[in-house]
Symmetry: C2
Subunit: 506 residues, 2 copies
């Protein structure tokens, strides 16, 4: 038998080529979302499907399976179980066993459907016609169901999909955590609704030219530690962050000229994703050890920069005067007013603009609906009604049209099904991580006042980003925060905030 090191290097090289293909796919994706016109969608679908098919073909080449088996049989020749090589072998095995379950033709079909489905979604939003999008949504769920059945599950197809985004978590566990969270949030949301003090949105409003916002947001993103020379910021319909290479991690944001807070908070959010990706160990790029552990943990980082930093009082003490340099009309505004306004808590229609409390209910709505759509309990044509009904029940508001309802998110149109709960899990993880970080570093507000956000970034670099996929997500959460994930820390943090800002006792 060949030397384990030689086998490992051979396997690593093959997987590097898969990584090249995968990042080519993300270049196509970035371009599609930032520059391509809808007329380009059909050909782009073919290009993307070709690349996904090639990546799938290479990643599922039986030779890969053989090399992994050979390495598994060499025991500890490559060091301890948490050595980089051993971690990669373990995770390559997990990926391989999962990937081989799907035939290449299905992967290609899913990709083509994603690209064309997204274009149909954009059109449907433009024309406010759910009906033209419905066939694509049907197809997307049908393909997802097919994939779930091929991956295998114990009667709950949703689990098979969630496993791809948040390994080791079942829909039952996620559901319990989210329902528990909801129960804890309801009295908080009520307390806010009954509070005498109300923030005023007008403190965030005015006239903010796009180019100026771009310059301002780039300054803030750089301040928190996102490296612009290894990335870039684009303008997109749906904010997102994407990795095109080890030194090319970009994000896109959308802008509203009458409210600068929208693009700012989403820039902080996406820069948070970017900081995670830029903090992965460069020398392990393209291997599991150089890959983020899960979407939930990813979201814990983006939500942290968005909410724990960007919605803190200390942040505005520093950044309101600087914002005034870009936007003269902000000069006279008061830190307390802007800080309160950006922490406005009230049920609203759009998830990505929701406050920290009600955001989680938006997720629960999507989570419950996609489980029902996937199992077939809910028909696609009945989605708008079901959506509006849930919004009424959980948020107490009426949906005026589908673009503010079930057509608002891109995810299902591109086949991202089983993904939504990771957003709420991210909030849960984030609160636990911040508790642990503050124990080590002291309060975040003090750190920000000293202008040391990089101290925070570096802590997360060490504890989370540089770990890649060394641990399973819930293992990592427990290791870093000292306890298994639960809604407690998040609720404690939000209770404090509601009390401080709204004077509401809960």
């Amino acid at each position: 038998m060949a030397d384990p090191r030689t086998i490992y290097d051979k396997l690593k090289q093959r997987m590097a080529e898969v990584a090249e293909l995968e990042t080519i796919r993300w270049v196509l994706e970035w371009d599609e979302q930032t520059e391509m016109q809808s007329a380009g969608a059909s050909w782009r679908g073919r290009q993307a499907a070709l690349i996904d098919g090639l990546a799938h073909e290479r990643a599922t080449d039986p030779k890969i399976g053989e090399l992994i088996s050979e390495l598994e049989n060499t025991g500890d020749a490559l060091g301890e179980a948490d050595n980089p090589e051993r971690v990669n072998i373990r995770e390559w095995r997990r990926d391989y066993d999962r990937r081989v379950k799907l035939p290449k033709s299905l992967v290609e079909e899913m990709t083509r459907t994603a690209v064309e489905g997204r274009a149909a979604w954009v059109e449907a939003r433009k024309n406010k016609t759910f009906s033209t999008f419905a066939p694509w949504l049907s197809k997307s769920f049908k393909l997802a169901r097919k994939a779930a059945d091929l991956y295998g599950h114990n009667g709950e197809p949703y689990d098979a999909l969630l496993e791809g985004y948040e390994p080791g978590i079942t829909s039952k566990q996620a559901s319990e955590m989210l329902r528990d969270l909801r129960q804890r949030l309801v009295p908080l949301i009520e307390a806010v609704a009954n509070a005498k003090r109300r923030p005023k949105r007008k403190h965030l409003q005015g006239n903010f030219p796009l180019a100026t916002q771009q310059a301002f947001n780039a300054e803030v993103a750089t301040w928190i530690g996102y490296d612009l020379t290894r990335g870039g910021i684009g303008e997109t319909v749906h904010p997102f962050c994407i990795t095109l290479g080890p030194d090319d991690i970009r994000f896109g944001t959308r802008y509203r000229e009458n409210d600068f807070s929208d693009a700012l908070t989403s820039s902080l959010h996406e820069a948070g994703h970017g900081i995670y990706e830029q903090g992965l160990l460069r020398e392990h790029f393209g291997t599991p050890l150089g890959t983020a552990v899960s979407l939930g943990v990813h979201e814990s980082q983006s939500r942290m920069w968005e909410n724990r930093i960007g919605r803190s009082h200390a942040f505005w003490e520093i950044w309101l005067p600087r914002a005034g340099n870009h936007f003269p009309e902000l000069v006279k505004r008061k830190v307390d007013d802007v800080h309160f306004a950006i922490n406005d808590i009230q049920p609203s229609l759009i998830r990505v603009e929701a406050d920290e409390l009600t955001y989680n209910l938006h997720i629960l709505i999507r989570f419950e609906l996609e489980i029902a759509l996937l199992s077939g309990d809910l028909a696609v044509n009945d989605l708008p009604g079901a959506w509006n009904e849930k919004v009424r029940e959980y948020l107490g508001i009426e949906v005026p049209d589908d673009t503010q309802g079930c057509l608002q998110d891109i995810h299902w149109s591109v086949g991202l099904i089983g993904y939504f709960p990771t957003y709420a899990l991210g909030n849960i993880y984030s609160a636990q991580f911040v508790e642990a970080a503050e124990k080590d570093l002291g309060g975040f507000e003090d750190i920000l006042r000293k202008e040391q956000p990089l101290v925070i970034r570096d802590w997360f670099n060490e504890k989370i980003h540089s770990q890649g996929r060394r641990y399973m997500p819930s293992e990592l959460v427990e290791k870093v925060s000292g306890r298994p994930p639960s809604a407690e820390a998040l609720t404690a943090y939000l209770s404090g905030k509601v009390k401080d800002l709204y004077g509401a006792s809960v």
Copy 2:
């Protein structure tokens, strides 16, 4: 033997996949030139090399050769020699025989060198240091020479490269045409230099915000028939046009805020390339019949829109008032002044900003230097000196630094060697085409005054764009213009212009 139609369809499907790969490569290229930071170049080089390697592997698959042979042996079973299928078979054969001469490893190395060489070129321009770029330039020419020798030639390696851009034309033929052109231009340039009337550049100058220029240029590009819904306009260091799919043909332009004419003329130029690509027959996309015939003919289209339309008096009669809607300071300017200013003829340093006469001398300089670099008669380290010497000889001016000298063009950095003469050939072809078009349609100035630029576009659509690679370039030129390519028509047009504008008798 299988039915020829079945074999043809099988071949066509294989070649469609090559087209998918090639256009994926152009998405990488577009992104590289519009958005990617230099830190991303190294990984991008790997991605691009992987795609080029795959495209090469598939296009040179022996099975392709077999299918072509089988079809060649079916005689006229697929119709006349100029039937779409027969044309494609003929041209697939030409491509195949050429491509198989290069090994995949060389193709990949050339691509990696192109991506990293371009990044080195950008850096060298930034720091004004030719020396840091010299090793890349050396490598680029070394690889080009290797490729030329593998393609095969009769002692003139340059011919083997030129064949890839302008099939059927030798460097001797190109050289004769360009030297003849030079001889004819020298007295014209002298006449202009001695003329009493001089245009004033200030009529093009002022303060023109980038976003406003973008809106204005998009309006002009749409007017001449470029379809923005099947493309897009970006901001790039080096203006270019690129095809990412049958309905996704984009171009990039650079902007100067103190002179709106720079971006406008390059937008007209690149939109001209775009109109050609958008005019290829959509149903033949990815086959030779759906591909432009040569770079020279391509350039004939871009130069036509830039010069024959964009530098005409009629164009400014219509567009100066409209430009005034975007740029208030233009409102009071006079058509005659702006028209004369945009036809300013004088030796200058930068090719892409040169006037219609001296532009051709810029090409001759590059053409002669690249022949010498390729043959080894000129050492890379001696390039700056040789460049400056030629500029002195042909243009009578001094080069102050290499960014305005031999570092100004992107081409050599990305391995585009043997490409430059096609620019001057484009000017030559263009003049002949316009003569023919005016015979059919009447004078362009009248057509423009009637706001019917689409009449011109449609004529070229029919005569040239939709023909794809049905004819060889010089065959097409002769067919459309009624005579073989020569410098005559171009000189006649330029003489007339010099006489009209400068009152110079020649």
